[in-house]
């Protein structure tokens, strides 16, 4: 890509943001935290994938999904199924009445592996499935909803119902899914123990790498015409339609993309935490994921990452010291972000910090910086929401 093309894809402010985030995630945190805390950060980052998807869907496209846990869960379950099959080798499960199948299946009198588990013996299939299955699912929901112009609040409620349905199904079909306990006791990946500290470091960096990959995709989408179309649709859907666009297709695309991000996050979660359970599929976690996005700033892809980190870090700290106060703090956070800081941390940053940073840079480089001459101007929405 030409320099100019790169420049328009990655204007200076974003370049700085990328660099700072990379510095924090790749250098600062691994050096300053022990593996226990770093593993926690890795877990928080998996939620950042979901929040990132929500920035595109909700912040840009105005589509609020309260069922992102569904996709997070699908991705996580796909990964967990692969690992569980490896952990359930005939040698490991010799005491079962049917060796070679996951323990929970044995408890539920299954005597052979169900057909839809079979392909998960293959890592290649699993990796593809992690992205493709949730995307197809999102595509089906998207086509059904957006082609019929269901949107806004209705879409939110319906996705919530989908989350409820999937939770009940997973819990009810415990012979196939592990039920309420989920898929637990995952041990190795091709014989390599995933519970060691070394493995945790590897997975942390893999997670960071995938996150940057997704951030890159998100940045590309954001800076493309499609990104501007999303904003346009959020404001004046009819106008976009009467400019000759099939609006539903764009919504479906961004919803699928957000779901694929969430699914990758889910898979990373399984790798780092070591199990997957229906508690991440339901309504409550799905709504919490929205708040990560809102706290970070619903229009900022970097905000999504910081939001997920900050809220979860606060949750861990608060619940360690004042478990009773945690719900108060969380509730206040929801209300405060919505009412006082609709653009979240990113909004505060652009308002108070960015000018100073720019001054600082200007002073160092000796160049004047007031033109902000990028062709694509910054969005400075006030609570921009349909």
């Amino acid at each position: 890509m030409s320099y100019a093309g790169l420049r328009s894809l990655l204007p200076k402010n974003d370049l700085i943001n990328f660099a700072v985030l990379a510095l924090i995630l790749v250098v600062v945190l691994p050096l300053s935290l022990d593996i226990f805390r770093l593993n926690l950060v890795g877990k928080y980052l998996t939620y950042a994938f979901v929040a990132l998807g929500l920035v595109l869907c909700w912040g840009y496209g105005g589509i609020l999904s309260l069922g992102q846990g569904v996709f997070f869960g699908l991705g996580g379950y796909a990964m967990a199924m692969f690992l569980k099959l490896e952990a359930s080798s005939p040698e490991n499960t010799a005491i079962q009445s049917t060796p070679g199948i996951p323990d929970f299946m044995d408890w539920n009198q299954l005597t052979e592996l169900p057909w839809f588990w079979q392909p998960f013996h293959s890592l290649t299939f699993t990796v593809i499935a992690i992205i493709v299955i949730p995307s197809i699912f999102a595509y089906i929901i998207g086509v059904a909803m957006f082609k019929r112009r269901v949107g806004g609040v209705y879409f939110a409620i319906i996705t919530q119902a989908v989350a409820a349905i999937l939770t009940i199904l997973i819990i009810g079909q415990q012979g196939y899914t592990g039920g309420v306990n989920g898929i637990t006791d995952l041990r190795t990946l091709f014989g390599w123990d995933i519970r060691t500290n070394e493995a945790k470091y590897v997975f942390y960096f893999l997670c960071v790498f995938m996150l940057f990959l997704c951030l890159g995709v998100a940045q590309f989408v954001r800076k493309s015409k499609l990104g501007r179309l999303l904003v346009a649709m959020r404001e004046m859907e009819d106008r976009v339609r009467f400019s000759g666009y099939d609006v539903a297709n764009f919504k479906i695309f961004v919803f699928c993309l957000g779901s694929a991000f969430a699914a990758i996050g889910g898979a990373m979660f399984t790798l780092q935490v070591g199990f997957m359970s229906p508690t991440f599929v339901g309504i409550v976690p799905s709504i919490e994921m929205v708040i990560f996005c809102a706290v970070g700033g619903r229009l900022s892809i970097f905000g999504a990452v910081y939001g997920a980190l900050v809220v979860n870090w606060a949750k861990t700290t608060f619940s360690e010291s004042f478990p009773e106060l945690w719900l108060f703090a969380m509730g206040a956070l929801f209300i405060g972000v919505v009412m006082a800081f609709p653009n979240g941390l990113a909004g505060l940053y652009t308002k108070y910090c960015e000018p100073k940073v720019n001054q600082l840079i200007a002073r160092f480089t000796g160049k004047s910086n007031d033109t902000s001459a990028e062709l694509a101007p910054q969005m400075k929405t006030e609570g921009g929401n349909p």
């Binding site: 593993n39 309420v180 935490v273 508690t279 719900l327």
Partner: protein, 422 residues
């Protein structure tokens, strides 16, 4: 957090020889002092794996949900464990060391349980953990305990199908609780037909599976089996099915908020449980749950479990008295609360038998540990890490207590992987 032993070694390595002499003299003095007071063995002897044990304290972990949906159930366990620890401390502690605890909140969230157990084991270096309530939370922490070789005392009656070297199960596994109950209703009440009802998750499903096998072995009939999602609140349809199928026994393992709705609606639909037509046999309603259901709504139902607050033995009377003094007069004590209370005592006995806090030694010492002071009477740890215990049948009264109508003669052997019931 290093132990004193490690600290001494560290000092010795780094300081010049003069200082070294002083350091070891100080350490020696401390040791003499503590030996004089408590006759406690040296820390270096009782703790070879770097646990949080000092000359006069030992740190343990308590890991339950204080927030979230499970807080309702887990509060009693936390209270019982704290009470037991305080009582042990008042008696001089374990191996001359006072027990200190670090309490963590699992927040009804399974990864949080895993995260907190990792913290307790890695950061706090606790000697043991008392905690978890749901099977899901136990399953989530199990790999952590096995990886870092921790010890968990788990208080809830559960579905079995598990036997970890790192867990002592102080509640009953499913067969202990269920078989005696079904035998009793068959023998004493002449029950022939059963309807199995549960919330939709692993414990009720496994329990009902065991119940069904047993019922069929006895040559009797299961006329229906049904599951409702957790948190379901409308049971009129199932009540109609009862009326249609007319089972002798409704075997219920409904949990949580659903429990309240189920018994209230059963009563309202004109099924008077005191008439025992049909008879309700539950394995999920302890005195704790009756608080929410209301005694008048469940009067006449039978429960099959190992402990009821109304047990009249001396141990229990002392326990109930102490519990009320510590946590308030209006508190009730259920099966799980009692099982949680056993945890610290069983651990103390095992540590003293082993003469060490080391997890491996405690594990080795655990099988065969007896507790004659248990509120439920006499219990004994089986080599499979579950407890031998009696099973009792209680009949619910309006005041929210159970009247004990039956007690097995012998201790029942725990059998987490029951042959022929899977």
């Amino acid at each position: 957090m290093g132990t004193l032993k490690n600290a001494q070694a560290g000092l010795g390595g780094r300081l010049p020889s003069l200082m070294k002499g002083i350091a070891s003299a100080v350490a020696g003095a401390t040791m003499v002092l503590s030996a004089a007071v408590n006759a406690a063995p040296a820390t270096s002897e009782v703790n070879t794996t770097g646990l949080a044990v000092t000359d006069d304290t030992v740190t343990v972990g308590i890991l339950h949900s204080v927030t979230g949906t499970m807080a309702i159930s887990e509060t009693g366990s936390v209270q019982a464990e704290k009470l037991a620890i305080e009582q042990i401390n008042a008696m001089g502690g374990v191996l001359g060391r006072q027990i200190e605890y670090v309490q963590e909140d699992g927040a009804s969230d399974w990864p949080t349980f895993a995260e907190k157990s990792r913290k307790l084991l890695l950061q706090d270096k606790v000697a043991t953990v008392f905690g978890c309530w749901t099977s899901a939370s136990r399953k989530a922490v199990l790999p952590v305990f096995e990886q870092y070789n921790g010890m968990l005392y788990y208080p809830t009656f559960y579905e079995g199908l598990e036997q970890s070297p790192n867990v002592i199960y102080t509640g009953q596994e499913a067969t202990q609780q269920i078989l005696a109950g079904i035998d009793w209703v068959t023998k004493e009440k002449g029950a022939k037909t059963f309807y199995l009802l549960g919330s939709d998750y692993i414990w009720p499903r496994t329990s009902n599976k065991i119940a069904r096998k047993h019922i069929e072995k006895l040559g009797l009939k299961v006329v229906g089996e049904d599951y409702y999602p957790l948190g379901h609140t409308q049971f009129n349809s199932i009540i109609n099915k009862f009326k249609l199928k007319k089972p002798d026994v409704i075997f219920a393992s409904v949990v949580g908020g659903s429990n309240v709705a189920f018994y209230k609606q059963l009563k309202a639909a004109g099924i008077d449980m005191t008439k025992e037509k049909p008879l309700v046999l539950t394995i999920s309603v302890t005195e704790d749950e009756i608080l929410g259901i209301g005694g008048e709504n469940i009067e006449g139902a039978y429960a099959s479990m190992k402990y009821f607050q109304s047990l009249t033995n001396d141990n229990n009377q002392a326990f109930v008295k102490a519990f009320k003094e510590r946590w308030g007069d209006d508190i009730v004590i259920g099966d799980v609360t009692q099982a949680a209370y056993l945890g610290p005592w069983l651990w103390k006995a095992a540590v003293e038998k082993a003469g060490s806090f080391d997890v491996d030694k405690v594990r080795e010492a655990s099988p065969g540990i007896e507790l004659t002071t248990a509120p439920e009477g006499y219990v004994k740890v089986h080599p499979n890490h579950h407890l031998w215990s009696k099973t009792r049948i209680g009949n619910a009264k309006t005041d929210g207590q159970y009247e004990i109508v039956y007690e097995t003669d012998e201790l029942i052997e725990p059998d987490p992987f029951p042959e022929g019931y899977q």
